[in-house]
Assembly symmetry: C2
Homo-oligomer: 304 residues x 2
Amino acid sequence: MDQPDIEHINAYLLALQETICAALTAADGGAVFHEDLWQRDEGGGGRTRVLRQGRVFEQAGVNFSRVYGGALPASATAHRPELAGRSYQAMGVSLVVHPENPYIPTSHANVRFFIAEKPGAEPIWWFGGGFDLTPFYGFHEDAVHWHRTAQALCQPFGDTVYPRYKRWCDDYFFLKHRNEARGIGGLFFDDLSAPNFNEAFAFCRAVSQGYLDAYLPIVERRKSHPWGERERQFQLYRRGRYVEFNLVWDRGTLFGLQSGGRTESVLMSMPPLARWQYHYDPAHDSPEAALYRDFLPARDWLKE
Amino acid sequence: MDQPDIEHINAYLLALQETICAALTAADGGAVFHEDLWQRDEGGGGRTRVLRQGRVFEQAGVNFSRVYGGALPASATAHRPELAGRSYQAMGVSLVVHPENPYIPTSHANVRFFIAEKPGAEPIWWFGGGFDLTPFYGFHEDAVHWHRTAQALCQPFGDTVYPRYKRWCDDYFFLKHRNEARGIGGLFFDDLSAPNFNEAFAFCRAVSQGYLDAYLPIVERRKSHPWGERERQFQLYRRGRYVEFNLVWDRGTLFGLQSGGRTESVLMSMPPLARWQYHYDPAHDSPEAALYRDFLPARDWLKE
């Protein structure tokens, strides 16, 4: 038998939300998370936690949700037609951190579990998740540390895991209408049920822990970097790209909005402030141009 | 014969862009439009004009484009399967005005013409367009003036035109994930080829002229209204909804992004600055609450 232990996952995800909020609160050293418990009319609910106007984080949102539905929405069945018409249960933790200092990158992490069932058939279940980093001003050592941490957590699960999920991340967090990556990537996986429940679940736990190991040292290293209006304006401009990705391309956001998710929790990922400027082009050889030239194009950070 | 005169439409749209830019420049009294001519690899191009940081308008973008393509993208054929596989030509003027003073509403207008052809078949052509108003702080007299102007321009084309296109506008500019209108509506029409080319084209011209008649008096009336940080914050928050609508629901934006349109011109509609705030709720009986209560729910402004 290789049946998923749903209540175990549920308990793990709730504890994960605690762990991450505690770690971010400590890293911020100022603000605390505000919590909302909510229920969804169609079934299920969640626990949303948001920290605003901290010393380090302009906003951080860490959301737990567990929802039930009679039929998976289009965003979930488009690439897996065998799921159409099944009832489902989805649970996960999703978080986005928007630091105030433009030298600290924005980060995002997610772990999720789906199970889709119909009478007389075996349930179909899988895990998905990952984490990715969105710097405004790139630092080579941060990018290498981020990807080394990702590589190290994947290693026990096989040599091919990091390269496969690193590439999937590069492909996924990509703004086709800009021909531009959202950031420097990290890990992205979906449809994971191999080799069995225990190992897939263990991999998810490793990803979650790896996120904190990857992100917190970067926050620590950059949080006292002096910045001014120029950096702030570039940060706000680049946050516009974050908005574009999330609303136009992100399957998780579309799933949330299409499945009657709690909009305020789904859109907790939006930056607190963002700007658009027609036809902005960074000056040649500026630190802003370096982001586009040296950091956004997909590359192998472990070969450096 | 009832063939569309494409070059006549083209010349009209270019002149319309001039007229609108001149009117907005005069209303602003400060900044001027910056112009970019651009070409599209797949065929066609456009003339984008943007005014930034004016005395009245924080940003105004007025875009003309004329593009050709081998096959219509999904966003255009989803509701008209007979168009699939036809080559097309699309031209139009689209504009969005983001005033600085939160007491002046944001406005949007568009006229567009499509023709889809294949060998051995009659061309299929149609007009679309309209205008809609997005106030932050509602004024009853402005809403009535806006809709009276819309009604008056529709009247010569038949009694049913205004109610039909007013309702279509309410239905179209609606954020399903918020269960909330984008603004107070106006007119929206699409697939218009009846009763014949000349009359459909005349209606488009009436809509374009009507936009200026509807909007400029409101700008004039509100541009000296005192405002402060509170109003600015609410304006930025509501602009977040504008972003959500345009990126998640707007067919025109999706068409632009999917058809390899010039992204900078398509996303010229984005506000220069916008914010999101988790779980914001306006205070009971505040002017901000009045927007949600009295202005956003669809209503018949001509019965007032």
